[in-house]
Amino acid sequence: MSSPPRRTGKVPTGWLLAIAVVVIYVGVVLIDDDKGWSFWLDQTRNGLTTGSLYALIALGYTMVYGVLRMINFAHGEVFMIGSFTGWVVLTKVFGGNDMSDAVIAPAILVAMLAAAVVTAGSVIVIERIAYRPLRHAPRLAPLISAIGVSIFLQNLFLRLTEGRFRQYPRIFPQGPGESVDLGFTSIDYIEIFLIGSSILMMLALYLFVQRTKMGVSIRAVAEDQEVSALMGVNVNRVIALTFVIGAALAGVAGVMYGLWLLNIKGTMGFLPGIKAFTAAVLGGIGNIPGAMAGGFLIGLAESVGREQLNSVFNPVLHWIGAGGLGLGNEWKDVVAFVVLVGVLLLRPTGIFGEVVGKRA
């Protein structure tokens, strides 16, 4: 496995591209004024919140891809397992909606820790059973195996919950008058919590990968498995470690998803999984800061991009007599796929680089 050519230079193109995206975004928001500022701020806020979840999930994809060159199709289901673990802790251990105010903070903390531990444990089992034996198999085999794991887990949880939704307790007040007023806009407590804690976790991960010995070994294995094995790195251990870190982040993201959107279900992992994967590709798969940026960008693209595309394309569509073709709210899920196809076609390296797409 040869290492990809590294881009060198003082100002990486990736950052320029990212800045360009932000500038275009602000510009487009400024041009369109019939919806008003508060509408766009709402969309942005929403986009950043979803984006922080995508970013957390995307880290798992990117890290595993970095070391194994494999897309862990079951990652969305790991996220789902985390969400259910959190639900069990919050409702069965801490009493759900009857929780007293004093235990709220420890309850959330314990739920997140439990989710991280359970997802980490399950992913170790998954890796051992379904992925490790296939490391040198024909390239479609691990993919099908991962799809198998995904179907298995999805249906297992659907079965355990009889196909119904499970409700998280409403811990954070949501709704009108229950938010922090910033003057120009207001922001829900849960949104502050989500964005804040995910940024904290990402920082921690970044420092871990850059500064610690284990982090160095992860990067070494990503660069070249065989050579790092010769240098005394326990490759199997490192691979398991990346799976565990990715899974723990996804598990915590699952709890946050539940706290935010309240309803969880066995099939909930699929779409966030795909979108997070898109985020990872957008940021340059294998690239950790890229996945974080990609997550936020996909979140924004989803909530803002759809509105914006509509305001740009609708007049054109009307003009050519296809007015009905405008994108409705249901098309939100398509945005991620369009971004994915676009990125792979126009800049397969993602905005922060690393040559992919053609490989694998």
Binding site: I71, A141, I144, I147, G148, F152, N155, L156, I274, F337
Partner: protein, 397 residues
């Protein structure tokens, strides 16, 4: 472990006898000309609805069975189509349902009275279904090329995810474009295809309830599709696909027009998928977006891979295992059959485990995918040529 079992005093004579019998039957089978063999097989399969039970009387495979066989047959067709893309050309397409849906809607839009697309009475065109079969092939191929162009530079996992995205976009399109596709309600009341006056046929149209006729129709269709697919595989194009599958860069260096042949693979696969879609819409009598979800794509890919990529018999076996058995588990006979194993199951007297198995069949399906991949990464019946390749690769490693 296996070796020790083989040298066991009880197992050995049995195994030897079986090996001799197998060799003899293979020799006898091998002496029959290929065409005759296929003809016999076709006759055997077409006869299935008429087999009679010598003990209890009546037919062995009643309507419920034929309904399952029909579905399995449809998936065999889809599998053969996807096999061209995945097995021959090595392009992992997870959005195969897009072509299946396009074929189904192509026919449904013209043949359903609920269709918003037409406003002429469809009764005027009695032969519509038969005309739509070649049309479906053509439109499917077109769709294949259209969706194939943007993914030309992609390989492996990326191709998988992007095609998966296409499959989902098609479904969302079908649900959301209410004024064109009838929305989530779908198109229903599709007229049954008429049949010409054949001697011995006592029905005039292929209603959804005409299970025997549909079954025979699908068996014939499978034979035609399988014939075409294997001919394609052995053609110049098939060899180009194989080269691309093994190494795209080397293939290109050897002068193979990779763009052309990759698009051809997408087109051929899509044409068969679309044909399957038209047949599906006709025997279902309706086309609803829910029938075209991701699970269809995953089912088809899984049956191709589990059966053994590139192998025709693998597709058949894969479809029987993945589509047939889960359906079979719903039958009363399945409980009776599984009941035979009760003595082996420790919790049989307290647990209706056959029932559990039936209700959890998707969980079993997922686990089965993993198990087959881990134990036989090249599938249950690997195509002969690929088998050799894998053996060589294993020696190298």
């Amino acid at each position: 472990m296996r070796e020790r079992l083989r040298s066991n005093a009880i197992v050995k004579p049995v195994a030897d006898a079986l090996a001799v019998a197998r060799r003899r039957s293979e020799r006898a089978y091998g002496s029959v000309p290929n065409a005759l063999r296929l003809f016999l097989l076709a006759a055997l399969l077409i006869g299935v609805p008429f087999y009679e039970d010598p003990f209890a009387g009546g037919v062995i495979f009643d309507e419920r069975w034929l309904a399952v066989f029909r579905l399995v047959g449809l998936y065999i067709m889809l599998g053969l189509g996807l096999n061209v893309v995945v097995g021959y050309a090595g392009l992992l397409d997870l959005g195969y349902v897009a072509f299946f849906a396009s074929g189904a809607y192509l026919y449904a839009l013209l043949a359903s009275p609920a269709s918003p697309a037409i406003d002429f009475p469809i009764d005027d065109v009695p032969w519509l279904f038969w005309a739509m079969l070649p049309a479906a092939l053509f439109v499917g191929a077109l769709f294949g090329v259209l969706l194939g162009i943007p993914v030309l530079p992609m390989r492996g996992d990326y191709l998988a995810i992007v095609t998966l995205g296409f499959g989902e976009i098609i479904r969302l399109f079908l649900i959301n474009k209410t004024d064109f596709t009838g929305g989530s309600q779908g198109l229903y009341g599709i007229k049954a295809p008429p049949l010409p006056d054949f001697p011995g046929l006592n029905i005039t149209e292929l209603k959804s309830t005409a299970l025997t006729e549909w079954y025979i129709f699908i068996v014939i269709a499978i034979f035609i599709v399988a014939f075409c697919a294997t001919r394609l595989r052995d053609s110049r194009m098939g060899r180009a696909w194989e080269a691309i599958r093994e190494d795209e860069d080397v293939a290109e260096a050897m002068g193979i027009d990779t763009i052309k042949y990759k698009l051809m693979a997408f087109a051929m696969g899509a044409a068969i998928g679309s044909l399957g879609g038209t047949i599906f819409a006709a025997f279902q009598g309706s086309a609803i977006p829910d029938s075209f979800d991701l699970l269809v794509s995953i089912n088809v890919v899984s049956l191709v891979v589990i059966g053994g990529m590139g192998s025709t018999w693998g597709v058949v076996l894969g479809a029987v295992i993945l589509i047939g058995i889960p359906d079979f588990l719903r039958f009363r006979e399945a409980s009776d059959f599984l009941g035979l194993f009760d003595p082996l199951v420790p919790f049989a007297d307290t647990h209706n485990w056959a029932e559990d198995l039936r209700e959890n069949r998707f969980i079993v399906f997922g686990a089965l995918l993993v198990a087959v991949m881990v134990l036989r990464p090249s599938g249950l019946i690997p195509s002969r040529r690929r088998q050799i390749e894998f053996a060589a690769a294993a020696e190298e490693a």
